[in-house]
């Protein structure tokens, strides 16, 4: 508890204890190499060339691009997505650095280090939260990865995607696009064509990663999109906990973020993937904000393997994401714990897909939606049991908390069972905070605002408890900040 206190204070210092406005909305004024707006085969080739990629990767991109041209944007979600002009976006923006990419922190532009400091992400290892290694990504490139050497001693690879392509091409080639094929969906195809950077993680057989691995994504440049890719491979009997965080400046225009995360887990290995998503959500009237259209999927390939997704979604103007698990290995386990908060004019359509293929596979889904203001918040989840998935089990709990008269909460569960031995459970609740609860808190000296924060955090606790301790406190604060002004 004492620890928690210090952490709390630290985060409070970083965030500045004032009015609860978006604290990450600043812009770093740094020279940036931005390619002209527009998307064509030439642009795809240019990105690949800038990154010095091998032919096979260029071919992967081009194939994805050609297929994307024939695809159209998905319209099935409960979202009102304005038309996006893909020719008005710049697909590559890199803060200017020395050509080779910095080897040590001394070589990283101090302005970049400052930027991440302001975001509460220290790139100086001795000052870092103990037990967390960070890959810091700004716009299209990775700025710096901490603790690399220490991890390398264990055979763990944790580096930017670009470095992985350069240093471990065989590993990348073996796994890239195997869980999320380039043609999986419109945004996945777009990402596969133009993805810039991201993180690569490989945990060798029998290794338990001794620290949290984390990637911090930052959009800085205007008029750009962010298209990063994360690939995590956990070999037999290994374990890793991975966390991503994201922020962006406040701008009146919308910015597109279309990422892909792929996870492959081998026999008896486990990957825990946590997200604290706080992209800029737009202003009260819904101007600006990030469109967060993300494809995340994990493959439990090995026997008794496990993937656990935890997400706390507080930001973005529009969120479209369904982190899923393909439970292929017998006895494999998939988990999805989600808190999605929307306020003002935010829209979220998020949930998961649990695809049971192997025997005795198990999945758990706990989704907590919190809607305030004029926002729209939807849970959309698919549980599919394939014919061969003898003894599959799923438990789904889907709760909605409504904080205003003008918001919407929606639930779209899809259950598709092809094996009679499967047991699938779905529970759903909708609730709101009562005036009696508020007055009870008031009488004990707790202000209405703080009372709502307590109750909302209590409501989300089951999911928040799944977050690594280092990030739980910040996530709690984010929840309270996000709902401010949206109650009533």
């Amino acid at each position: 508890m004492q620890n928690c206190d210090n952490e709390n204070k630290k985060n409070a210092d970083i965030l500045g204890e004032s009015d609860g406005e978006y604290k990450y909305g600043f812009v770093t004024d740094i020279d940036t190499d931005i390619i002209p707006k527009g998307l064509s085969e030439d642009v795809v080739r240019l990105i690949s060339k800038k990154k010095g990629e091998p032919q096979w990767l260029l071919d992967f991109r081009l194939k994805a691009f050609r297929q994307w041209l024939n695809m159209s944007m998905p319209r099935w979600a409960h979202l009102d997505i304005p038309d996006i002009n893909y020719q008005e976006i710049s697909y590559y923006a890199a803060p200017q650095q020395k050509k080779e990419g910095p080897k040590s922190l001394d070589e990283v532009d101090p302005q970049l280090v400052d930027t991440f400091n302001k975001l509460g992400i220290s790139l100086e290892e001795q000052k870092k939260l103990t037990g967390v290694a960070v890959d810091a990504v700004m716009d299209s490139v990775s700025v710096h990865t901490t603790h690399k050497e220490k991890l390398a001693e264990l055979g763990i690879i944790f580096c930017s995607f670009s470095e992985a392509v350069r240093d471990y091409p065989d590993l990348v080639r073996k796994y890239l696009g195997k869980v999320v094929p380039a043609t999986d969906n419109f945004f996945a195809a777009l990402n596969s064509a133009v993805f810039s950077d991201g993180s690569f993680v490989y945990i060798p057989k029998g290794v338990r990663c001794p620290m949290e691995l984390s990637t911090y994504f930052r959009i800085n440049a205007a008029g750009t999109g962010q298209f990063e890719r994360t690939l995590i491979v956990a070999d037999d009997d290994s374990y890793v906990s991975y966390l991503e965080g994201c922020t962006a400046p406040m701008r009146d225009e919308n910015q597109l973020h279309a990422a892909i995360v792929e996870i492959i887990v081998e026999d008896r290995a486990e990957v825990k993937y946590s997200t604290v998503q706080n992209w800029y959500a737009g202003d009260k009237e819904g101007r600006g904000g990030v469109y967060n259209f993300v494809t995340k999927r994990g493959l439990c390939r090995g026997e008794a393997s496990k993937i656990s997704w935890t997400q706390v979604e507080t930001g973005s103007a529009i969120t479209w994401k369904y982190p899923g698990c393909i439970l292929k290995g017998d006895n494999s386990v998939g988990e999805f714990y989600s808190v999605a908060v929307t306020n003002n004019r935010q829209q979220a359509d998020t949930g998961t897909k649990m695809i049971h293929i192997g025997r005795n596979t198990r999945s758990t889904i706990v989704s907590k939606g919190i809607s305030a203001g004029h926002s729209q918040n939807s849970y959309r989840g698919l549980v599919r049991v394939a014919p061969g998935a003898e003894g599959a089990r799923n438990y789904t709990q889907c709760d909605s908390l409504l904080l205003s008269q003008t918001c919407g909460a929606h639930t779209f569960p899809y259950i598709d069972v092809h094996n009679d031995s499967a047991i699938v459970e779905h529970e759903a609740t909708t609730s709101k905070i009562s005036e009696d609860q508020i007055f009870y808190c008031n009488q004990r000296g707790i202000s209405t605002e703080e009372a709502i924060g307590l109750i909302v955090n209590g409501y989300a606790k089951e999911v928040m408890n799944k977050l690594p301790m280092e990030f739980a406190v910040e996530a709690q604060r984010l929840l309270s900040i996000t709902i401010e002004g949206g109650v009533g």
């Binding site: 508890m1 004492q2 928690c4 206190d5 009562s434 005036e435 009696d436 609860q437 007055f439 009870y440 808190c441 008031n442 009488q443 004990r444 000296g445 707790i446 202000s447 209405t448 703080e450 307590l454 109750i455 955090n457 209590g458 409501y459 989300a460 606790k461 089951e462």
Partner: protein, 254 residues
């Protein structure tokens, strides 16, 4: 002491919407005193507790209510709490997901902030929780559960007195604290209230029955009827009520 009176209520009129329930209440409570407010159902006892503590369901039409010289009416309920007013609820609400520890910590530190004091550290706070828990024999397990969630009737009332012990109010109002309590729970709750009594604080016990007053001895007994205090006296008045019932009050005040 500059102001001898802890609570001074003058001409208090209040109700729900246009429906007047309290029709001019006068009451003075000095430090160290225990006052009992009795009366038949619907006489306005719980309304009086709600109006003093700032329950937003009630509208105040006029009068004043000063606690330690500070006017309460018009003040937000959380500030009334910080000024030293505590209400033990007749029906304590459940707050799922919020642990008693977090709840009380928020309450204690909000008060300290109001009084310009530093927040308590985690270890100081937990130590205090342990001490206060003993006063009402509250199980450690209850303290780690969500606020009132799944508590029995008796546990809820004990939990109210536990919170009172933690917040150390100047004036406590116990609203029908005896309702729904068996004799053992009643003894524990009343014992807790008596242990917390000092010559600086005061208690208003709102009750329908004499039973609770066997355990918490009042210095004064007031009878509230149709929104007015129609009778005040010593402890013997409660016994008289027990014997005669409320009918004679009703007859006298037709």
């Amino acid at each position: 002491m500059q102001n001898e009176n802890l609570l001074e209520v003058r001409g208090l009129r209040a109700g729900i919407g246009d429906k007047e329930i309290l029709k001019g209440i006068d009451l003075t409570v000095r430090p160290g005193e225990v006052h009992a407010i009795m009366g038949p159902n619907g006489s306005g006892k719980s309304t009086f507790a709600g109006v003093l503590s700032g329950d937003p369901r009630f509208t105040v039409y006029g009068g004043e209510a000063k606690l330690g010289g500070v006017e309460l009416l018009g003040m937000p309920p959380e500030d009334r709490s910080h000024e030293g007013l505590f209400l033990s609820f007749q029906y304590p609400v459940e707050i799922p997901g919020v642990s008693m520890v977090n709840f009380m910590r928020a309450a204690v530190n909000a008060k300290r902030k109001y009084l310009n004091e530093e927040p308590l550290s985690a270890s100081e706070f937990l130590k205090m929780m342990r001490q206060k828990r003993a006063i009402v024999e509250l199980d450690n397990k209850l303290a780690s559960r969500s606020v009132n969630e799944g508590f029995s009737g008796g546990e809820k009332k004990r939990n109210e007195i536990f919170q009172m012990a933690v917040l150390e109010p100047k004036l406590s109002i116990l609203d029908e604290t005896d309702s729904g309590l068996d004799i053992d729970a009643l003894r524990i709750v009343a014992g807790g209230v008596n242990k917390l009594k000092t010559d600086k604080n005061a208690t208003i016990v709102i009750t329908h029955y004499q039973r609770l007053l066997d355990y918490i001895k009042p210095d004064f007994v007031h009878i509230l009827y149709k929104g007015r205090i129609v009778h005040s006296g010593g402890p013997e008045l409660a016994l008289e009520l027990e014997e005669k019932g409320y009918d004679w009050i009703k007859e006298q005040n037709q």
